[in-house]
C-alpha cells in the first residue's frame, strides 16, 4: 500500500491555496443620484461584497457660493440667501444671521417679535424632524410612517405659510424684528397686521396633533423589532469623536452630551420656557432617531408655552432706512434642527458684510462619515447615512 508523501500533501494544499478565487474590491458609486442620498451627495464606496471597506464622500454638487454672494448683498438681502441653506428649516437659518447683525447694530428686538421668532423656529424644527421621521423609516424599508409624518408636517407648514407667506423660504425676519405685516394690507402701510387671525389657536390645535403623531410613530416605528435590529448598536459615535468632528445637534446629543444651544445661549428667549434636552446613551442610529422624536415633543411643548405667554407689543424696532452695520466681528450660533448653525460676521461698517462665514451643521455632521462608515455593511451604510439627517444645501452652502 502506497503511503502518502507529506511533502506532496503540503504541495497539494499550497496549490489549493493558490487557486483560491482572485477577488478585488468593487468601487460602488452611491449617488449623486440615489434614493437615499437626500439630494446630490456622492459616496465613492469600496465594497467587498456587502462589506464597505472605505467611503469617500464627494460633495459640492450644490455649492452656491453663499459666502461670496454675501459679500455683495446688503444685510436685508442676505436673509433671502440664508433661507436656502437648510431648506427644510428655512426659518431657523435666518435667526442666527439676523441676530448677529442686530447685535452689531445694537438693536433691541421687541419681545413679541422674539416670541414670534421662537415659535416659528420651533415649528421649523418640528417640520425638519418630521421629515426625518418620514424618510428614516423609509430608508430602513418601512414605507408607511412617511405618509403619517408628512401629513402632520403639512399642518406645520400651513401655519408657517399663514404667517410668513412661504412654506419653505419664509424670508420673514427683518433687522430689528419680524416682517410687521403678512397677508392682507401688507402693502398699504396703514394697516399693521399682526399674526393672522386665529393663528395661535390653530397652532395649539396643531401641537396636539404633534403629540399624537409622536405617539403613533412610537408605536409604528420605535417598538418595531426589525427597526431596532437595524438601528440599535449601528453606527456608534462616541461623544469625543463627535465633538472633534464638530458633530452637533441631535447627532451629538444622541452620544451623551446634553449640549443644546437653546439652553446655553440667548439668541432667543428660551430661558423663559421649561423644556428638557433629550439625550441618548449609546450614540447609535436608534438613539439619534429617538432624540429627534423626543425633540418634537419638547418643541411642541415650547410652542404651547410661548403661545400662552406671548406678550403684545410692536413687532419691529426702529431701524435706519439705509442699513449699515457698525464695524465689528461677531459670531452668533443657534440650535438649528440639524445642529449648530452659526454666522461669523465681519463688518467694516458698510452696507454689505466684509466676510460672512457660514457654519452649517450638516457640513460638520457629514465630515465624520468616512470614519463612521468604515467596515460597515451596505445596508448599515444607508441606515447610518439616514440617521445623520443632513440636507445637501446645508452641506454645500
Amino acid at each position: 500500500m502506497q503511503t502518502l508523501d507529506p511533502a506532496a500533501m503540503a504541495h497539494i494544499s499550497e496549490v489549493s491555496v493558490s487557486v483560491e478565487l482572485q477577488t478585488s474590491d468593487m468601487t460602488l458609486n452611491i449617488g449623486p443620484q440615489h434614493p437615499s442620498t437626500h439630494g446630490v451627495l456622492r459616496l465613492v464606496a469600496k465594497v467587498d461584497g456587502e462589506r464597505v471597506r472605505s467611503v469617500e464622500p464627494v460633495i459640492g454638487y450644490m455649492h452656491r457660493g453663499y459666502e461670496k454672494l454675501a459679500e455683495v448683498r446688503t444685510y436685508p438681502q442676505i436673509t433671502a440667501l440664508v433661507n436656502r441653506i437648510d431648506w427644510v428649516s428655512g426659518f431657523a437659518n435666518e435667526i442666527p444671521f439676523i441676530v448677529a447683525a442686530e447685535r452689531l447694530m445694537g438693536l433691541e428686538v421687541p419681545e413679541r417679535a422674539q416670541y414670534i421668532r421662537l415659535i416659528l423656529t420651533e415649528m421649523a424644527r418640528i417640520s425638519s424632524h418630521l421629515i426625518f421621521m418620514s424618510s428614516y423609516p423609509l430608508e430602513i424599508g418601512a414605507a408607511t410612517p412617511l405618509m403619517h409624518a408628512l401629513r402632520e408636517r403639512e399642518r406645520v407648514l400651513d401655519l408657517l405659510e399663514s404667517v410668513t407667506g412661504g412654506r419653505f423660504h419664509p424670508n420673514f425676519n427683518r433687522l430689528g424684528g419680524v416682517k410687521p405685516a403678512a397677508g392682507a394690507g401688507a402693502q398699504t402701510k396703514k394697516v399693521v397686521q399682526d399674526l393672522p387671525q386665529g393663528f395661535l389657536q390653530d397652532t395649539k390645535a396643531a401641537m396636539v396633533k404633534m403629540f399624537e403623531i409622536c405617539d403613533d410613530l412610537e408605536g409604528l416605528v420605535t417598538g418595531n423589532e426589525i427597526f431596532q435590529a437595524r438601528t440599535v448598536g449601528i453606527g456608534v459615535m462616541p461623544a469625543d469623536r463627535a465633538a472633534a468632528f464638530g458633530v452637533s445637534g441631535p447627532n451629538l446629543r444622541a452620544s451623551g452630551p446634553d449640549f443644546d444651544l437653546r439652553k446655553h445661549t440667548d439668541y432667543l428667549p428660551y430661558d423663559k420656557f421649561e423644556f428638557e434636552i433629550p439625550i441618548g446613551r449609546n450614540g447609535d442610529c436608534f438613539d439619534r432617531y429617538q432624540v429627534r422624536l423626543e425633540e418634537i415633543r419638547q418643541s411642541a411643548s415650547i410652542i404651547n408655552q410661548a403661545i400662552d405667554t406671548i406678550p403684545s407689543g410692536p413687532l419691529q424696532a426702529k431701524v435706519p432706512k439705509i442699513i449699515k452695520v457698525p464695524a465689528g466681528e461677531i459670531y452668533v450660533r443657534a440650535e438649528n434642527p440639524k445642529g449648530e448653525m452659526g454666522y461669523h460676521l465681519i463688518s467694516d461698517g458698510g452696507r454689505v458684510p466684509y466676510r460672512l462665514k457660514i457654519r452649517s451643521a450638516s457640513f460638520s455632521n457629514l465630515s465624520v462619515l468616512p470614519w463612521l462608515l468604515e467596515d460597515q455593511l451596505v445596508p448599515d451604510l444607508i441606515a447610518i447615512l439616514g440617521s445623520l439627517d443632513f440636507v445637501l444645501g446645508d452641506v454645500d452652502r
Binding site: P35, A143, T144
Partner: protein, 349 residues
C-alpha cells in the same frame, strides 16, 4: 399518422400554454389593485380613484398599458440575450406552478403524484431568472441585488421544504388533491375529533409548519420585510434597476402571480384548499362543486394575500445577515423539530 398525432399533441400543448398565458396574468390584477388600494388606506391616502370610473378599479390595467408603451431599454453593458430572457424565466416559473393548483375537485391542470414537490421545485427556477437578471444588467446595483436574491432564495428554499414535509407526513401523500382530502377527513392522527362536525385543516396541527412556510414564502417572494434584493433605499431597485417598460411589467406580473401561487399552495396545504371544511362538496353536482371550490380557494388566498400586503406596509426591512440568521438558526431547526414531532405522532397513533 404518428406525425399527425405529434402535431396534434404539440398544437394542443401550444393552445393550452396560450390559454394559460392569457388567463393567468389576470389573477395578478386584483392582487395589484388590492396592494394599491390597501397600502393607500394604510397610509391615509385614497389611492387610485379615477381609472375605470369608480374606485380606480382599472388602475392595474392602466399601469400595464403604460408599461407597454414605454421604451424597452437594454443597457450597452448588458449581456443582451440573457438580459432579455430573464423576465420570462421568472414569469414562466411562476405560471408553471398553476398546473398543480386545485381550484375545485376537477379544476386542476394535472393532479401529479408529486404535486407539492413539483410546485416548489418549479417555483425555484425563478431564482435563476432573478440571478441572471442581476448579473446580465451590467450594473453594480443589479449585481448586488441579484446575488442577494440568490443567497436569500437558496437559504429559504430549505425551510420552505421542511415546512411542507410535516404536512406530507401527516397526509401520507404529495398529491395536492390528496392533501385536501386528507384534511377533510374529520380526524387528527387517526383520532376522531369533534364528532365529525368539522374538518380540521392542517393549520392547527401543523401551525409551526404554516408559520415557517409563510415566513419563507415572504422571503421567496422578496416581499418586505425580506425585500433586500430590491431594497430601493440601498440598491436603487436591485436586480430590476435597468429593466423598463414591458420587461419590467413581466417581472412585476411574475411577482404578483408568485404571490398568488404561494398563497394558493399555502391555502391548499394548510387551510383545506377548495374544501369549505364545514360542509361536503361531494353531495353537489360537478359544476356547483367546482364553482364553490374555486370561490372558497380564492377566499382563502385573499386572506393570505391581505396578510402579506399588511406586512409589507408595516415592517421595515431586515439586513442581509439577519435574514440568513433567521433562516439557518431559527427556521431550519424549527422545521426539523416540526418534522420529528409530526413523525412521532404519526407513528404512535
Amino acid at each position: 399518422m404518428i406525425v399527425v398525432l405529434a402535431i396534434g399533441f404539440w398544437a394542443g400543448l401550444a393552445l393550452k400554454i396560450g390559454i394559460m398565458a392569457a388567463i393567468v396574468p389576470v389573477v395578478a390584477l386584483p392582487i395589484i389593485f388590492a396592494e394599491l388600494k390597501l397600502s393607500a388606506h394604510m397610509q391615509h391616502r385614497i389611492g387610485p380613484y379615477f381609472a375605470g370610473g369608480r374606485y380606480g378599479w382599472a388602475q392595474p390595467l392602466a399601469d400595464g398599458l403604460k408599461f407597454f408603451q414605454k421604451e424597452d431599454l437594454v443597457p450597452d453593458a448588458a449581456d443582451k440575450m440573457v438580459y432579455k430572457l430573464a423576465p420570462y424565466l421568472v414569469l414562466g416559473a411562476a405560471m408553471a406552478v398553476f398546473v398543480v393548483i386545485p381550484f375545485g375537485p376537477d379544476l386542476i391542470g394535472r393532479d401529479l403524484d408529486l404535486g407539492v414537490f413539483y410546485a416548489l421545485a418549479i417555483s425555484s427556477i425563478s431564482t435563476i431568472g432573478v440571478l441572471i437578471a442581476g448579473w446580465s444588467s451590467g450594473n453594480k446595483y443589479s449585481l448586488i441585488g441579484g446575488l442577494r436574491a440568490a443567497a436569500q432564495l437558496i437559504a429559504y428554499e430549505l425551510p420552505l421544504f421542511l415546512a411542507v414535509v410535516g404536512v406530507v407526513i401527516q397526509a401520507q401523500t404529495m398529491s395536492m388533491i390528496g392533501i385536501i382530502d386528507a384534511q377533510a377527513e374529520y380526524q387528527l392522527f387517526g383520532l376522531e375529533i369533534a364528532g365529525n362536525a368539522i374538518a380540521i385543516p392542517y393549520v392547527f396541527p401543523q401551525f409551526i409548519g404554516f408559520v415557517i412556510f409563510y415566513i419563507a414564502a415572504l422571503a421567496e417572494l422578496s416581499r418586505t420585510p425580506f425585500d433586500m434584493p430590491i431594497a430601493e433605499s440601498e440598491l436603487v431597485m436591485g436586480y430590476l434597476t435597468e429593466y423598463s417598460g414591458f420587461r419590467f411589467a413581466v417581472f412585476f406580473i411574475g411577482e404578483y402571480i408568485g404571490i398568488f401561487t404561494m398563497s394558493a399552495i399555502m391555502a391548499t396545504l394548510w387551510l383545506g384548499g377548495y374544501d369549505p371544511l364545514f360542509f361536503d362538496l361531494s353531495g353537489l353536482n360537478d359544476i356547483a362543486a367546482n364553482a364553490i371550490g374555486a370561490l372558497v380557494l380564492f377566499g382563502k388566498v385573499a386572506i393570505l394575500v391581505f396578510l402579506m400586503i399588511w406586512m409589507r406596509w408595516t415592517f421595515p426591512r431586515f439586513r442581509e445577515d439577519q435574514l440568513q440568521d433567521l433562516a439557518w438558526r431559527i427556521l431550519i431547526p424549527l422545521g426539523l423539530a416540526n418534522i420529528a414531532v409530526t413523525a412521532f405522532f404519526k407513528v404512535v397513533f
